[in-house]
Amino acid sequence: MTGVVVIGAGPAGLAAAEQALRAGAEVTVLDEAEEPGGQYHRMLPRAYAARHPERLQTGWRAFDRRQRRVREHPRCTFTARTRVWALEPRADRAPLVHVLRGAADSAGGRAVLEPEALVLATGAHDRVLPFPGWDLPGVFTAGAAQALAKGERVLVGDRVVVCGTGPFLLPVAASLLEAGGRVLTVLEANPAATLLRGWTARGRELLPQAGKAAELAGYAACLLRHRTPYRTGRAVVAARGEGRVEEVVIARLRPDWSPVPGTERVLPADAVCAGHGFSPRLELPVAAGCALDRGEFVLVDAEQRTSSPCVYAAGEITGIAGAPAAAAEGAVAGWVAGGGDPAAITRLLRRRDRGRAFAARLARAHPIGSGWPDWLRPETVLCRCEGTDYRTLCRALEDPARDAARAVRLGTRAGLGPCQGRICDPTVAELTARRGGEVSMAHNRPIAQPIRLADLAGPPEKERNS
């Protein structure tokens, strides 16, 4: 019997666990959160004793059945509140999995797992492009606002502007409205023409994602009901206020996202929720030695195998396409990792392929325009941790004597703070590339999660697979 460890209990990880169990494997699922579900099927804390959790999310019942099936399976061990802080590659075998158990960032119990096969399903976090004032309190990522509303019932503000690009802005706005907030407007930076071109090309591909389309239509109806306008070709180009957001500056954008001069308009607001797509959480795949696809996502073959022996990857770390696509990938990864015969899952493989086609469509409809740096000011912060501003980055890049990567890291300290570049790396890499330099996004964070020295000093408990 194969011992499979799945890291992440979001749509991808749970589907992987379910299929690995079906293939006959012994499965351990690890997640740092208190409950399974990941970002999409975010569960309310158990202590809330919610009588109607299904009212807060689409597809809750099917998800709940799946998570119970997995957790209650005799061959499954599900451990919540468990952070994987490092992976240790081994020749020809799956890497060792180093975990910390207990409350987040606490001195917890340290353990090492020795899987025979490893499925990585760690998901993504929001990507947010910087704009003047994006470091003011009251600016949140779109995902944070969503997580707080859906997962904790906390509303980030009362007069909120949602902005960025992608269909994800719709459920975010809908959740804020549902929680009793006022969403002044939802601003999609891409013009309607780009959206149309991206979404309507090869319409047949979209049919299998009809469920997703219905879900989006539901959010759109919610916006209409609340008279919240959805506007394309517009963005928040600045947030302003004394110690917190008090107003935002909105501008019309050209198709390349450069602001059209003279179209700026000031709107009083107390919160901004911004999302310009997602950044995959790649530190564990990189630590496992997995090759990346153009430096961006984990490279997988037709059966979700990575370039590392016995390591599989699924969900947003291999491409951004939403929960159904992540689950489809997870199902394939779990089945194959668990020792199942790929010939027996043609339906799952087809579903996975359609998910990938959806990802390509999403990327076409919601690209990031090249003109966004026009809304930066010299003093605009790029790295939130170290306070590096745009002026400092430009100066470092102008120095011909230094190679870009070192100049940027050491000269500006961008990416060297507590988040280790998780938030600013894509921005710095893009701005550097524009000036002819090259900064690789290393995603090379051997310590994937903070660990205290005292924990490191003590011996770990050794476990086979659970």
Binding site: A104, G138, G143, E152, R153, L155, D270, D389
Partner: protein, 98 residues
């Protein structure tokens, strides 16, 4: 207006709140069982509790990626408030205190 908690009576999810209390820089702050420390602080109307290099910081990413929300909990520094569940009686120190 400030951030706030959806009132239990108006919550479609039908929650049953069990109150808890933590102290933040010595002052009592109430929340409910199950909330994160960031949730308790936001629910109490607080948007920021840390000083970053360019100004005050609170929650940004909400899922443990940005490290903007760090606090000290029961003497343990650098705890991500958005990831740590609040426990009745927790002593929280912000990095904005005088």
């Amino acid at each position: 207006m400030s951030p706030r908690m959806v009132p239990a009576a108006a919550d479609r999810a039908g929650r049953t709140d069990r109150p808890l209390s933590i102290t933040v820089d010595g002052a009592p702050v109430s929340g409910i069982e199950g909330q994160s420390i960031a949730g308790v602080l936001l629910g109490a109307g607080r948007l920021s509790w840390r000083r970053g290099p360019s100004g005050p910081r609170g929650v940004f990413c909400g899922i443990g990626a940005c490290f903007d929300c760090l606090v000290t909990v029961n003497g343990e520094p650098d705890v991500r408030a958005c990831r740590r569940a609040a426990v009745d009686g927790d002593t929280v120190l912000t990095q904005e205190r005088a």
